[in-house]
Symmetry: C2
Subunit: 420 residues, 2 copies
């Protein structure tokens, strides 16, 4: 028996309920307490997928990436038919990062044990570890827990699956969507985790998305790379990049038969693309809503930039500014700090045209405070939980939206004493 | 009469006493309360310099730079003999930034009033404003205070001068050095301010350095650009860049006669260079020691990088990581977060050679935790006020040292409620 989920406070920005997750034909999940977390809470996830499942993934750009990330990159190269997957094993509590050759060997032993269990090649097993960096991973505990986990595999244990990968998260994160491919309905389920060390390229996050559609690995990979840019790579909590970030997409092909999709630009994929992006934005928002110490959810849209990339750079500079984030925490409509952040982004700005609004109320236009600006409605907006900043930098048509949370005492409390 | 300095708590990292500042021939200073600070504390500094004074300056790279910064850049272009200076006027409380044409006009009126008072051309008057962004500056209050300020000019009022430019600073910052040029002694005095919005290129800081040496403007400019890189541009408090950052160096030529210096690489300048760098590092350290909410002073040295610039990039990435800074606040020797920060810096790292030590104690070598690592002495070091990190990334000989402070509840308290 594993320890019950703690009754410690949940983020005030958390969704009211865990979504009602349907089954995904070809996917079974199970979670247990392998003893990595001293608390006895669940810390190990196993996913079994149908033999024909295709896989895609994007990973952290950290140059000190974890041993599991390096394994996944290698395994994703797959055979001539592209990457295939039958198993996924994820542990929390220990990141298996900066653990030298012993860390690599631990990954190999875990992957081989899962491959034995699921009767597949090791290159069809993907893995991730999240938690403390630099501590040897006790893979023996993981391997010992696997047979019972296999026994427990079930198509509906999504809540447990989402809980098994939590670290400082205060709630389990999941989302589901349906899409049509050539008039046939397919389902997409996703789970994610992350709360601190959250920043693009990528967040300190893990996210796994599963669909019963039949899609080749190269199409999945292209889908993922497009979608990540406007979802997981458009969020930041604390500007720190993890060594373990992983986003993977698996297509089991075990759903209803639909017209074959051969290429990314096939029109039959349009609805699937839209639903996948929507699901990934949902999962990314849940990570921000569980930002360490977060009390406000902040949407920052920048228009009028030289390019979309420039707009995103400016928006992220605002989103990562500690002065902006503490002002939001203090419910202070301190738009001067937005001006500061715009200035330090290193992107073209026409200061004579710069316009700023908060909560839909125009504050500054044409490079200065609007005459007769009344802070009352903006101050009221700042007291809410959902805060909106809009900035126009007056150069061209580049636009981007990013999401973040405020920087509060809670962040300091969580992070000044994480290991003890 | 101005209000007395507040008795609110001073940073625990502050120097024990204000330095004993000598006079600089050719420099007189005065400070008063012009009524910009509601508290009635001093908020306006006037410096008068000898007519032959040469000037140099480096300023923020922000694209939303303040009106005073734009004025100084223009005035520094000077005449055929290089930039000259006779007046410097600095106000705190209001940054005169994002204030449109009205802000420009305020600068012009202030500069003209000072030029009238000191009987010099407006282009010999430099200015800065520091405080809240986006609020019109009441230059009338400043201009009205100038005649009495002129009356009060004195060669020894350095403590008042340093206090006049404080914003969220908890102590006035000053340093003095003597140097020899061709066997003749010259003096260098400096004052600085800054506490939040502190980050290279540059810190949110003002710093003014004065010497009685006789040095041409082009040599001063080259000196400043070399020195800033290893002092003010090697500190960070919160990664935010100000719109008002200014560092200026003035040489009055009113000291003892010394052999003429014509070029930056003149060997007679060697001691002056060393002393100027030492003074600027001292002033920069004082800014970090007054970092908003700081309780620990952190020195980060990175060796073994591809270049010195790469080493600085890695060191600053460690220094700006909220997870590293909160771990230091929590006295937690969480070296795994150093690994994370090294990984996200985007510079070459040999993970099989990466070595980390804290407080002189080796923790990791050759890409992994040292066998038998005992955290006891490191934990003790983390309880001190002066924390040292050393990282070797195992590529080549690039090296850099940067300084920062921890991220604490105090930072949040100060910044969540700055305007109210």
């Amino acid at each position: 028996m594993c320890a019950k989920p703690s009754s410690s406070p949940v983020s005030p920005l958390a969704p009211k309920t865990f979504p009602d997750m349907p089954e995904i034909p070809g996917v079974r999940v199970a979670a247990t307490c392998a003893g990595l977390k001293k608390s006895g809470k669940i810390d190990l996830l196993l996913v079994e997928m149908a033999p024909e499942t295709c896989a895609a993934g994007v990973f952290t750009r950290s140059l000190t990436a974890s041993a599991p990330v390096r394994w996944c990159r290698k395994a994703l190269k797959g055979g001539p038919g592209g990457a295939q997957a039958q198993g996924l094993v994820v542990n929390s509590e220990n990141a298996n990062t900066f653990t030298g050759p012993a860390g690599e060997q631990a990954v190999e032993r875990i992957v081989e044990a899962v491959a034995d269990l699921l009767s597949c090649r090791p290159s069809r097993v993907f893995t991730a570890s999240t938690g403390v960096i630099g501590k040897p991973l006790d893979d023996g505990k993981i391997i010992a827990a696997l047979p019972a986990l296999q026994e427990a595999l079930a198509p509906d244990a999504w809540d447990m699956a989402a809980r098994a990968i939590m670290t400082t998260d205060t709630f389990p994160k999941a989302a589901t969507r349906t899409a049509e491919i050539g008039g046939v309905q397919v389902t997409i389920n996703g789970i994610s985790k992350g709360s601190g060390m959250i920043h693009p390229d990528m967040a300190t996050m893990l996210a796994y998305v599963f669909t019963d559609a039949t899609l080749p690995a190269d199409v999945l990979q292209e889908l993922l790379e497009v979608v990540v840019d406007k979802s997981f790579n458009a969020i930041t909590v604390d500007s720190d990049t993890s060594t373990s970030d992983s986003l993977m997409l698996f297509a089991t092909g075990a759903g209803k038969s639909h017209p074959q999709v051969r290429a990314f630009d096939d029109a039959a994929l349009d609805d699937f693309k839209a639903q996948l992006l929507d699901l990934c934005i949902d999962l990314a928002h849940q990570i921000v809503r569980d930002g360490e110490g977060a009390t406000k959810f902040l949407t920052i849209t920048v228009d009028g930039a030289e390019t979309d990339a420039a707009a995103k750079r400016i928006a992220l500079t605002i989103a990562t500014s500690p002065l902006v984030k503490t002002a939001v925490a203090g419910e202070d409509a301190n738009w001067g700090r937005i001006v500061m952040a715009v200035g330090k982004a290193g992107q073209q700005v026409d200061t004579d045209k710069l316009a700023i609004s908060i909560g839909g109320v125009a504050i500054a236009e044409d490079g200065g405070l609007l005459p007769g600006y009344d802070e009352t409605p903006v101050a009221l907006h700042m007291k809410g939980q959902e805060i909106d900043f809009h900035v126009d930098v007056g150069i061209a048509d580049g636009t981007a939206t990013v999401w973040t949370c405020d920087l509060t005492h809670g962040y300091i409390e969580i992070n000044a004493d994480y290991r003890s």
